[in-house]
């Protein structure tokens, strides 16, 4: 494959929201897929995850004559303008995250690919309900965009908590009184903030028993803080994401369980779906759920992981998998 020069099928624009590893690896996954399928991939960054920059990027992508647009929308259901802009310019668009039913029937919308937010958090909650007891605290990501709130709601459902799960404010009793939900702090998706949040929680609730962190970065930060406070043994830690350092935590045993997905696989599938759409193999306006694996120490090696794109064999393997199946009846339809 090295020798022969492929004629590019055109440039796919990739919207990169923020430089965090999750988005970076989503882009890396898309890159390898684009290469394999004969497209160029041009990246448009949005370092401060600002909606106005996202719109600007879409317009820049159109101006630059892209054949299609994919990548991350900065928030849940905040990309209306981007989609219309793409539609007006007749450029197909597939976004990772940002699903809203109202877009499904818009022209040139290939669809959305994202984890099922509520379900994703719920699995972890269910595991906690059956495996742990005592005081529970949650470290959320940045609130205000809906995703962090959604994961928390899902988790609380799974843990069988009683109260306004959408609002998610403690205190609540969960698992029929076996678990007391006592605190929630926001860790802004970041390690230092996760560290600080854990410090504050443990200071206020020295007898904390269960901690749920909405991503692995905050989990690592929180764990470091717990170690410094000699509380790591006492706390049953759970997390989400399946980042390399998260999976390492599961292997090492200080993360008891976590729900994992792979941004790289999301990116790869996004490009495959776009290619299929451009080749009229699929129709637009669908919602696709990302491939997720719930892991504990036992099955941790089954997680896809974020970095398979570095291994051509794995890339080839995932490129050969059947295309994602659209969700039969998406929420809100």
């Amino acid at each position: 494959a090295q020798g022969q020069v492929k004629v590019s099928k055109g440039t796919i624009a990739f919207l990169l929201s923020g430089p965090d590893l999750y988005y970076q690896d989503g882009m890396n996954g898309a890159k390898v897929a684009a290469k394999a399928l004969g497209y160029d991939l041009k990246v448009y960054t949005n370092p401060n995850i600002s909606p106005s920059v996202e719109l600007a990027n879409v317009r820049n992508a159109i101006a630059a004559g892209s054949v299609a647009i994919t990548g991350y929308s900065v928030g849940l259901a905040t990309e209306d303008a981007s989609i219309s802009a793409a539609g007006k310019a007749k450029v197909p668009i597939l976004l990772m995250y940002g699903y809203s039913p109202k877009y499904l029937n818009k022209p040139y919308v290939v669809g959305f690919e994202q984890v099922n937010v509520i379900e994703y958090g719920k699995k972890v909650g269910e595991y906690v309900r059956t495996h742990a007891s005592g005081k529970l605290a949650i470290i959320t990501g940045q609130l205000g965009r809906g995703d962090a709130e959604g994961y928390r709601t899902g988790f609380l459902q799974g843990a069988g908590c009683k109260g306004d799960l959408v609002k998610g404010e403690p205190p609540m009793t969960c698992a029929g009184g076996k678990i007391q939900y006592v605190a929630t702090e926001t860790g802004h998706w970041l390690r230092p903030a996760g560290y600080k949040a854990a410090q504050n929680i443990i200071a206020k609730h020295p007898d904390l028993k269960i901690l749920f962190s909405e991503n692995d970065d905050m989990a690592v930060g929180a764990h470091t803080a717990l170690v410094a406070a000699h509380k790591d043994k006492q706390v049953f830690m759970t997390s989400m994401n399946g980042a390399p350092y998260g999976l390492a935590g599961v292997k090492a045993g200080w993360i008891k369980a976590e729900n994992t997905d792979s941004p790289a696989l999301e990116g790869l599938n996004a490009v495959r779906l776009i290619d299929a759409y451009l080749n009229k193999q699929i129709t637009g306006g669908k919602l696709y759920y990302s491939y997720t694996v719930f892991v504990t120490k036992e099955n941790v090696d089954q997680a896809v992981g974020w970095e398979f794109f570095k291994d051509p064999k794995l890339v080839a393997k995932y490129m050969k998998l059947p295309l994602l199946k659209p969700v039969a009846n998406p929420p809100g339809t």
Binding site: Y44, S50, A64, G65, T78, G144
Partner: protein
């Protein structure tokens, strides 16, 4: 006036009549600051160079694209320029823009009429501006820290208000600012958001140049003590200026939310620093007395052109940031050099 009674001896009044006209011409020349136009020159160069590198660059679409990208930022920058002239500044604009959009958005969701929702949103932002003004004026505390505190406060308020999920349908506002104007003259299919920008630039220019309020802004920025001794009501003037900024922020909120059809806390991330950067790049002095609307809007234009060109230059995403940072530094160096 007193001097009328004075025995006037023309022969002895310097400057001698002969010199007067020349002097005046010279002064006129000195007052026209050709260098103030440097951003335009720089832009022309960038446009030319980039056009050579990408055939998609020099197109009407891309021009409209840049215009629609800078318009909301441009509106705030005008407000920021007015504050900078008076030796003030506002770091809370980002989350205040978000606030106005959220208030309006939530009311639209609850089915309130458009006009009422807009009034509430702009009103909220204006109230915040007023609060900033009162705090800055009453305590003679530095606006940097006051508005920073306000910004953190508003961040909490915004995220609290949107809670579950951001508003994703701005209804009438989207109809108004989401698209372009009719493509026939005099509209030429410009992005709708360009209209409020144009209006605000004119307003800001007129205010600073032709109104007593604007002149007072310069006086306070240039020497607050002297302004006070000249009987200028320092506090009231400051409160007016910050309240005006609040209103412009509210307008920006409507324009931006309409354009993107969203209301959320991160709607205008970094607008506070970007608007200050634009004004200063254009040649408005930080903390006092110099600069104006036209210089500042040039800064905005340069900002937009540069960001757009960097994308077309095909730099990898991270290098784009580095280039942007470098250009800000170079820009301000140039602006200084020409003083």
């Amino acid at each position: 006036m007193a001097n009328v009674q004075l025995p006037v001896r023309p022969a002895e009044q310097p400057p001698p009549p002969a010199e007067a006209p020349r002097a005046r011409v010279r002064s006129r020349l000195r007052n026209v600051d050709v260098f103030a136009l440097w951003p335009v020159a720089v832009m022309l160069v960038i446009v030319f160079v980039t056009a050579l590198r990408s055939e998609h660059y020099f197109t009407v679409f891309n021009f409209e694209n840049i215009l629609s990208q800078v318009s909301p930022l441009g509106i705030v920058t005008m407000g920021q320029a007015i504050l900078l002239v008076s030796a003030g500044l506002d770091l809370s604009v980002g989350y205040n823009i978000a606030l106005s959009s959220i208030v309006t958005g939530l009311m639209l969701e609850d089915g309130y009429p458009l006009w009422l929702a807009i009034a509430a949103g702009v009103g909220a932002a204006t109230a915040v501006g007023f609060a900033n003004g009162v705090l800055v004026a009453q305590n003679r505390a530095h606006p940097f820290i006051i508005t920073l505190g306000m910004s953190i406060f508003l961040f909490g308020l915004d995220t609290q208000l949107t809670g579950g999920a951001p508003v994703n349908d701005m209804r009438g506002l989207y109809t108004a600012f989401g698209g372009n104007l009719p493509s026939y003259p005099p509209f030429f299919g410009l992005p709708a958001v360009a209209v409020p920008l144009g209006a605000v630039v004119v307003l800001a220019y007129a205010l600073l140049r032709w109104t007593p309020l604007g002149r007072r802004a310069y006086a306070i920025g240039g020497n607050e003590e002297a302004a006070y001794l000249s009987g200028i009501p320092i506090k009231r003037t400051k409160i007016y200026l910050y309240t005006l900024m609040g209103a412009l922020v509210g307008l920006t909120g409507m324009v931006l939310a309409g354009q993107i059809n969203e209301a959320s806390f991160n709607l205008a991330q970094n607008f506070e620093l970007e608007s200050i950067a634009c004004a200063v790049i254009g040649g408005t002095a930080l903390f006092g007395g110099r600069g104006g609307a036209l210089r500042s809007i040039q800064g905005v234009a340069l900002w937009g052109v540069v960001q757009n060109a960097i994308v077309f230059a095909g730099l990898s995403s991270n290098y784009q940031q580095m280039a942007l940072g470098a250009i800000i530094v170079i820009a301000v160096m140039v602006t200084r050099a020409q003083r």
